[in-house]
């Protein structure tokens, strides 16, 4: 473990940014947002960014290939480029876990080379949480916000930033920063432990701390699919895509062709299972009502994904949908309502 004074963060960022692009949460009018660091940009004090960090590996739109047309001739152009190395600083435990969720989708065979390329070039410097929000429930899915995963795990106390490399990539980065950082001693270990204790204490006091996902998981389709509660839960759903677009684990996309007039750009963009034209085929959308579409989203997070991924839930409890849904419907309400009120 290495450490650096919080007052010298600017130097740290400069040193990281010297070798690769550095992205970190900064404050904007509309809340915190990952932006590329440049001199003068301050780390946001907000708990989390409005949009999740998944954009870096799975951007909202991505050009897959181009077709150039000249008269009746069509030429296919491979637009892929090797990604540059980059560092994501300040990723919270929930978002770090979301990368695992995405990896299982995009890195499974057939491997998504676009995703893989970026994933390989990205280095995650995660940050433990000391001020979890009232909407947080990562603990429900076994995530410890005091001890995130990542290549380098950071803990920030009032005056010191502790950096703990967890992977080879992370060690290499810290190695490159060794001139700037100091080695840690026993006191530091204690400070970090105290820091974690504080986090744990606060996490356990959160309003949603008791929320349990135990009833959900692999192979529970039959238990919930026909639950009458879906009707009430989905009745106010507007069918917008806010929840899916702020969600760090939603991974559905559509591939579309854009006619540029002199060719075609084939791109993929996020899609939302809440949309009426989601996975529309020649026979139409397989899920015809908003109830079915709504159910799909939550069943996918809580049942289908775990069924296919060794029980791993594809919700990480980041709470973004709790604060952003226009009608204030969210996975917590769904989990509490489904199968009666046992979860209260």
């Amino acid at each position: 473990m290495r450490k650096i004074a919080v007052s010298r963060m600017e130097e740290l960022f400069a040193a990281i940014a010297a070798g690769q692009s550095l992205y970190l949460p900064v404050d904007t009018k509309a809340g915190a947002k990952f932006e590329q660091w440049e001199s003068g940009k301050q780390l946001s004090s907000a708990l989390n960014t409005v949009r999740s960090a998944k954009d870096f590996f799975f951007p909202q739109t991505e050009n897959l290939m181009d077709f150039r047309m000249e008269g009746k001739k069509i030429e296919i152009i491979d637009t892929r480029r090797e990604s540059e190395d980059f560092v994501l600083f300040g990723v919270r435990a929930c978002d770090v876990r979301s990368f695992t969720v995405l990896d299982r989708v995009f890195l499974a065979e057939p491997v998504d080379t676009y995703y893989k390329n970026r994933r390989e070039h990205g280095l995650i410097m995660s940050m433990s949480c000391t001020r979890p929000a009232e909407t947080c429930f990562c603990g429900t899915f076994g995530i410890d916000a005091a001890e995130p995963e990542g290549d380098v795990v950071c803990h920030m106390t009032a005056d010191t930033l502790y950096l703990d490399a967890k992977t080879e990539k992370g060690s290499a980065l810290l190695e490159s920063l060794s001139a700037l950082t100091e080695a840690c001693g026993g006191e530091d270990e204690t400070a970090v432990e105290r820091h974690k204790e504080l986090s744990h204490e606060r996490l356990s006091g959160l309003p949603l701390a008791e929320l349990s996902a135990d009833r959900f998981g692999a192979d529970k389709t039959d238990a919930f699919f026909n639950d009458p509660a879906w009707k009430t839960l989905s009745e106010a759903c507007l069918g917008c895509g806010t929840c899916t677009f702020v969600c760090p684990t939603c991974q559905c996309y559509d591939i579309q062709d854009f006619d540029t007039g002199h060719g075609v750009k084939r791109f993929r963009c996020w899609d939302s299972c809440m949309y009426s034209d989601f996975t529309k085929m020649s026979a139409g959308q397989p899920r015809l009502t908003q109830l079915e579409r709504f159910r799909q989203r939550f069943m996918h997070k809580l049942v289908y994904y775990p069924t296919n991924n060794d029980g791993l839930f594809s919700c990480v409890g980041c709470g973004r949908c709790l604060s952003k849904c226009p009608i204030q419907m969210n996975i917590v309400k769904v989990m509490k309502q489904l199968g009666g009120k046992q979860n209260d």
Binding site: F258, T260, G261, H262, K265
Partner: protein, 144 residues
Amino acid sequence: MQVTEYKPLIVAFCCNWCSYAGADLAGNNRLSYPADVKIIRVPCSCRVNPMFILRAFQRGADGVILCGCHPGDCHYTTGNYYTRRRMALLFSMLDYLGIERERTRVEWVSAAEGAKFAATMNDFVAQVAALGENKRLEDLRCKK
């Protein structure tokens, strides 16, 4: 070194009954205007959807002009009155978004006004050329 003069691309929507005929008359009288103007024939100026105008900008137009019968002379009685309201609101909105107001225009040109048609196009092309390329409403994907 060869200097290529900047040539703006102008899309002109002309109503079939007055302005398209006015453009024909300009031709009959050999009144020239820049070839940068490309005319699309519509039955009435009220057929022009704001989406067509935005699409033209997206695809690389530098200016869009709508031409219709003079108010009161619409072949369909009322079409250009609706055009006038729609475009007044749309153009004001584009201006509000900071898009150069000189890139859009509505002009009433009758079937007898070949000279006005040519003069209008000459003027509009010059006006747009002075602004240079459309950057504010462009879609980079459509660039060659």
